[in-house]
C-alpha cells in the first residue's frame, strides 16, 4: 500500500517538476526596463507600495499620504511631526519603515490599524530601511543602511519580533537602502555608481542564505526609491524626470 502510494506520488510529481513549478521561491528575471511603458501616478517626493500594488504611502509637500492604487484619493496620515525621508512598506501593507529627518536621520516603524498608523513598531538598528520581504516566505528580511554617511548595508531577520543582523554588512552605492522583493531574493536600488553611471540596479540571489550576485542595470538615469513589483514586471520610481512624480514602468 505504501509502495503503491509512493509510486503514485512520484508519478503525480511529473508535470510540476518538468515545467519547473517546484513550489520554491525563485528570483525573478532581471531585464532592462528600457522601452517599458511609463505611467505617472501621483506627485510624490518619496513613496512605497505593497506587493499587490493596490496601496501606496508617499510624501508630498512635507506631508505624508496614503492612497489606493491605481487611482484612489490620497489621504493624509500622521507619522509624527517630522518630515520623512524614506518609506518602506511591508509587502502586506500592514507595517511601515520610515526615516524621520532629524539629526541624525532616525529609522522608525509604524503599524497600520484600519486607516490609522501607530508608531510603535520595533525597528532594526540603522538609518534607512528598504522594503522587507513577506512573512509568507519565512522570517522577514530587510536591508538597512547603517549610517547616513556610509554605504554599508546590513541585512536583518525578524526573530519573533526582534531584528537580528544576518551576515556581514555589504557595500551598496545607494543614498538610502535597497528594497527587497517579497521573496527576499532580489534587491533593487537607485544608485549613483561612479563606474556604472546613475541608474536603477538590481541584484539577485538564489536563496536568502546566499550572497547577492552582480548588479544588473534596469534603467539608466537619475531616479529615487526604486521598487520592483509583480515578479519584476513593474518598476516604481520617483524623480526620474523634471519635478517629482511617482512613476510606474511596465514591461
Amino acid at each position: 500500500m505504501l509502495a503503491r502510494s509512493s509510486v503514485l506520488a512520484v508519478m503525480l510529481a511529473g508535470c510540476d517538476f518538468v515545467f519547473g513549478v517546484n513550489g520554491q521561491p525563485e528570483p525573478c528575471e532581471l531585464r532592462s526596463f528600457g522601452g517599458a511603458t511609463r505611467t505617472e501616478i501621483v506627485e510624490a517626493e518619496e513613496f512605497s507600495v505593497d506587493w499587490d500594488q493596490t496601496f501606496a504611502v508617499f510624501s508630498q509637500g512635507g506631508l505624508n499620504w496614503q492612497m489606493k492604487l491605481p487611482d484612489g484619493t490620497p489621504e493624509m496620515i500622521d507619522l509624527g511631526v517630522y518630515v520623512n525621508l524614506t518609506f518602506a512598506l511591508a509587502p502586506e501593507g500592514t507595517s511601515l519603515f520610515f526615516t524621520a529627518a532629524i539629526e541624525p536621520p532616525t529609522l522608525r516603524g509604524a503599524l497600520r490599524d484600519a486607516s490609522t498608523w501607530a508608531i510603535s513598531a520595533e525597528v532594526p538598528r540603522g538609518t534607512y530601511a528598504g522594503t522587507p520581504s513577506a512573512d509568507a516566505f519565512g522570517p522577514r528580511r530587510v536591508l538597512v543602511r547603517l549610517r547616513y554617511e556610509l554605504d554599508e548595508i546590513q541585512e536583518y531577520e525578524d526573530d519573533s519580533g526582534h531584528w537580528v543582523a544576518v551576515g556581514q554588512p555589504i557595500t551598496v552605492r545607494t543614498q538610502t537602502a535597497p528594497n527587497l522583493t517579497p521573496n527576499g531574493l532580489t534587491m533593487v536600488y537607485s544608485a549613483l555608481e561612479p563606474e556604472l553611471g546613475p541608474g536603477v540596479y538590481a541584484q539577485s540571489r538564489t536563496s536568502v542564505d546566499e550572497p547577492f550576485g552582480a548588479p544588473v542595470l534596469l534603467r539608466e538615469g537619475k531616479a529615487r526609491a526604486a521598487q520592483l513589483c509583480g515578479r519584476c514586471q513593474q518598476l516604481y520610481v520617483v524623480g526620474d524626470g523634471e519635478g517629482s512624480t511617482l512613476v510606474r514602468y511596465d514591461r
Binding site: L12, A136, R231
Partner: protein, 307 residues
C-alpha cells in the same frame, strides 16, 4: 411459322415412316395438303424459311445430307421455333453420323413440339432421342472449380462437365494452358481429368478495421490530453512565475502537479491503449473468392485464403 410447322410435320412424319419401313431410304416428299375447307383459298407465297426448308428436304431426299443440314440450319435461323425443321436437323445430322448433334436437335424438337402441343412430332422426336441417347459417346471432365474448360472451342459450364455428349471423331479439350485431343466412337464412355488449377481471385478482407478505428480514437484522445496537459502546465507555469504570493504560486503548483500530471497519465494510458489495439487488430487478409465445387461425389462451395 404455322405454315412451316405444318409442312415440316408432314414431311417429317413421312420420313419417319419411310425410314422405319425402308431402312434409311428417305420417303418421297408429300405435297402439302391445305387444311380442309380452305381449298378455294390461294396458297400463300412461301416464306424464305419455308423455301430453305423445302430445299433441305429435296437434298435430304437426294441423300445430300450435309447440304440438307445447311439448308435446315438456314431455315431454323429464320424460324427458330419450327418443330419440323428441328426434327429434320436431327435427322440429317443423324444421317451424317453426328450422334450428339442429332440428339441435341431431337431434344430441342421434342421440347418445342410439346410446347406447341404437336403430339406426333413430340413422340417421333422422343423415340429418336431415346435411341441416340443410348448410343451417343459421352465424356466426363474432371477439372478444378473455376477452370474454364472448352470442348472444340465451346465453353462448358461446370455442371455440364459431368456429361459431355460428343459426336464420333476427334475433339479438342482445353483447360487453361492444358490442351488435349481425344477420339471417340459411338457408345464410348470416357473420362478426362485435367490438372490445370483454377485462377485464383482474391478479395481483401479487413476484420480489424473497427478495432483500428478505436485505436485511432484512443490515440487522438491521448494526444488531446497531452495537449491539454501541456497547455495547463504552461499556463500554470506562467501564473506561477508571475505571482509574488506564495499561496498563488503554490496553488498553481498543485494545479500543474495534480491536474497536468493526471491529464498526462490518462493521455499516456489512452495512447498506450490505442497502440495496443492497433497492434492487436487483425491484419488485412487476402482470401480467395468463394468458388463452386462440382465433382463426382460432391457439390458445394469452397473458400480458401492466405495472409
Amino acid at each position: 411459322m404455322r405454315v412451316l410447322g405444318w409442312w415440316a410435320v408432314r414431311w417429317f412424319l413421312g420420313l419417319v415412316i419411310a425410314t422405319s419401313t425402308a431402312s434409311a431410304q428417305p420417303a418421297p416428299p408429300e405435297p402439302p395438303t391445305p387444311p380442309t375447307g380452305e381449298q378455294a383459298a390461294p396458297e400463300p407465297a412461301p416464306t424464305p424459311a419455308v423455301t430453305a426448308f423445302r430445299a433441305g428436304r429435296d437434298l435430304l431426299d437426294a441423300g445430300q445430307f450435309e447440304a440438307a443440314c445447311a439448308k435446315f440450319t438456314e431455315s431454323i435461323g429464320l424460324d427458330p421455333d419450327a418443330p419440323g425443321t428441328l426434327l429434320n436437323l436431327g435427322l440429317c445430322n443423324e444421317k451424317l453420323g453426328k450422334t450428339a448433334t442429332a440428339l441435341a436437335w431431337f431434344r430441342r424438337g421434342q421440347y418445342r413440339s410439346a410446347e406447341a402441343q404437336m403430339g406426333e412430332y413430340e413422340q417421333a422426336a422422343k423415340e429418336h432421342a431415346v435411341v441416340l441417347a443410348a448410343r451417343v459417346a459421352t465424356l466426363r471432365v474432371d477439372a478444378a472449380p473455376g477452370v474454364t474448360v472448352k470442348v472444340d472451342g465451346a465453353t462448358l459450364s461446370e455442371t455440364e462437365r459431368a456429361r459431355v455428349e460428343l459426336d464420333p471423331g476427334t475433339h479438342v479439350i482445353e483447360a487453361g494452358t492444358e490442351h488435349r485431343e481425344i477420339t471417340v466412337h459411338d457408345g464410348d464412355k470416357q473420362e478426362l481429368t485435367l490438372k490445370t488449377e483454377a485462377p485464383k481471385h482474391y478479395v481483401m478482407v479487413d476484420r480489424g478495421v473497427k478495432q483500428r478505428h478505436y485505436a485511432y480514437y484512443a490515440v487522438g484522445t491521448g494526444a488531446a490530453l497531452y495537449l491539454a496537459s501541456a497547455s495547463l502546465s504552461l499556463v500554470g507555469r506562467s501564473r506561477y512565475h508571475d505571482s509574488d504570493h506564495p499561496e498563488t504560486y503554490q496553488r498553481w503548483q498543485g494545479i500543474v502537479r495534480y491536474g497536468g500530471t493526471s491529464l498526462f497519465l490518462v493521455g499516456s494510458a489512452a495512447v498506450v491503449g490505442g497502440v495496443y489495439l492497433y497492434v492487436k487488430a487483425p491484419k488485412r487478409e487476402r482470401i480467395e473468392q468463394v468458388a463452386p465445387i462440382v465433382a463426382r461425389d460432391q457439390l458445394g462451395v469452397a473458400i480458401a485464403g492466405s495472409f
